[in-house]
Amino acid sequence: MIGFAAFAQKEILEIVRTWRVWVLPGILLFFALTGPIMARFTLEIIHALASEQLGNFTLPDPSYVDAYTGWIKNLSQTALFALIIVYGSIVSSERRSGTAILVLTKPVSRGSFILAKATVHSAFLAVLVVIGTAVTWGLTAVVFEEAPGPALWSAALAWLAFGILFIALMTLLSVLIAPAAGAAGAGLGAYALISIASLWTPLGRWSPAGLTTIPTSLALGEPVDAFWPVCTALLLAAALFALAAAAFQRNEL
């Protein structure tokens, strides 16, 4: 474990000094800044553009719940897809460029290599989600003059567990599948399967599959028990990281 700290520090610097600092942060910040405003003015925009088509149909007045659910839906769809694509090459890019060879012939075990990436990128996602949620919360309070914290934060943190699960999955896929596009495709396939699996009530209640719908329910203020889906998601993430390390150990470079 001699080189763990140095390699983790490299991962942080790499985020700050390469395209990684723009993609996920840019997407999340965009949604955090525009979500509450869009939620507040969507009704006016619809009326301005299509009032004649609406006829007698009336839409409910917007509320902070629309801003909250908008943020969570953006996390669950666009942000998650971006995460899957970005992390499709988290390990394979180092193998392809030859940097893994230089690092792994130093006192850095392959387990440390994977663990450093897991730690830094999970923490990176956590920071992004916390900042994005805080911005959404603050802007919602300004725009709607009402922004209860527990619904938004519980929803965002439940989704964070899901996001970390997908970082772990993409780390494993990036070890197993060299082309980044192949790993990303497998990640998107896994997401589709999890979404379908969540339709079966026991899986939705007791497994990470429930996290495809639970964050939105939490944002709506519905009484949902997220304990087991969150716990199993984090346990499964740890198992996937361990599996990635074991698979990487067997790889020839």
Binding site: M1, I2, G3, A5, A6, F7, Q9, K10, E14, R17, T18, S97, G98, T99, A100, I101, L102, V103, L104, T105, K106, P107, V108, S109, E252, L253
Partner: protein, 309 residues
């Protein structure tokens, strides 16, 4: 002397391809060992097995007295390695990369400061402020050599360290390797024979995954010099050369413009018996017939089958 590297019966196969075939190799501590072979001979594969990047199919590989499958961080901390095409983080500067590598070895800050400055100077990169993404191949190669030395290694493994360098860069790297003699065991693969002749004590020649010769350079050249005969005749050198080339013991024949014929032979006794008869058969005069001197290049060419008959 103890062995820094000891390889016994090493075989490495990829599907149906045998990249290394029952390789035996001993590299003594403190020596500068040249590992020669044509492209595709298996040099890089052996280095990948030595560094633990690839697993052997069979055989035993020991590095600094430890079986390579059991090499841990404490052993890797004593090894420096430069791959044939080193990969760098393009967004770092040369200094940042050396400091990063130094931290992987947990080198204390003061020592690291000294080594970084010394190695940047050695690599000729002291005043370079651009990131590595903007480096030429030669600059990357020099940085690669520098990073392999950051931990003052006991064993230095270099894969084609001079292949991308200009003559000045090559000279600097070879001088640096020479300066390590006796303190660090240097094992480097190359196909540049002049580099090996200049700095190495001992060489091994690899061909199609097999070690075909191993030993001190002087010993190898004298051993294989016994296989070379130089003839000088008064006339009909071309026809005599053709006669000799038809003999089963003639591995290669080269006819010079002044009647000099260089012959590499596989059976010296047969050559000694047959050559006079061939000369007499052509009714030509013999000016001289002697054992030739062989350089490492000729030894290499004769061993890896590059000779022309």
């Amino acid at each position: 002397m103890t062995a820094a590297i000891r390889v016994t019966g090493l075989t490495k196969t990829y599907a149906q391809h045998r990249a290394l075939d029952n390789v035996d190799l001993v590299v003594e501590e403190g020596s500068i060992f040249g590992f020669l072979g044509p492209n595709g001979a298996g040099k890089t594969t052996l280095l990948r097995v030595l560094t633990g990047l690839a697993r052997s199919t069979s055989g035993v590989v020991q590095i600094l007295g430890h079986n390579v499958t059991a090499v841990d961080d404490s052993i890797r901390a004593r090894i420096g390695f430069l791959p044939d095409v080193p990969g760098f983080y393009d967004w770092m500067t040369a200094e940042e990369f050396l400091r990063f590598v130094g931290r992987l070895f947990a080198i204390d800050r003061r020592t690291l400061d000294e080594r970084v400055h010394m190695l940047l100077d050695l690599a000729g990169l002291t005043d370079v402020r651009t990131t590595i993404g903007g480096f030429s191949r030669g600059m990357k190669q020099r940085l690669g050599v520098a990073q392999a030395l950051i931990n003052a290694p006991q064993l230095l493994l270099l894969d084609e360290p001079t292949s991308a360098l200009d003559p000045m860069g090559r000279r600097d790297v070879l001088d640096m390797l020479t300066s390590l003699r006796g303190r660090t065991t240097v094992f480097f693969s190359t196909h540049i024979l002049a580099d090996v002749e200049r700095v190495c004590d001992t060489v091994a020649i690899l061909d199609h995954g097999r070690v075909v010769a191993q030993g001190p350079i002087d010993e190898l050249t004298s051993r294989y010099a016994e296989r070379k005969v130089i003839l000088e005749v008064t006339d009909a050198a071309g026809q005599l050369g053709q006669d000799i080339a038809r003999e089963p013991w003639a591995a290669s024949v080269a006819v010079g413009p002044t009647g000099v014929i260089e012959i590499t032979v596989s059976d010296m006794d047969a050559a000694r018996r047959t050559i006079p008869a061939l000369i007499a058969g052509r009714n030509t005069g013999l000016r001289r017939m002697e054992a030739g001197e062989m350089g490492l290049e000729e030894v290499f060419v004769s061993l890896v089958g590059g000779g022309t008959k």
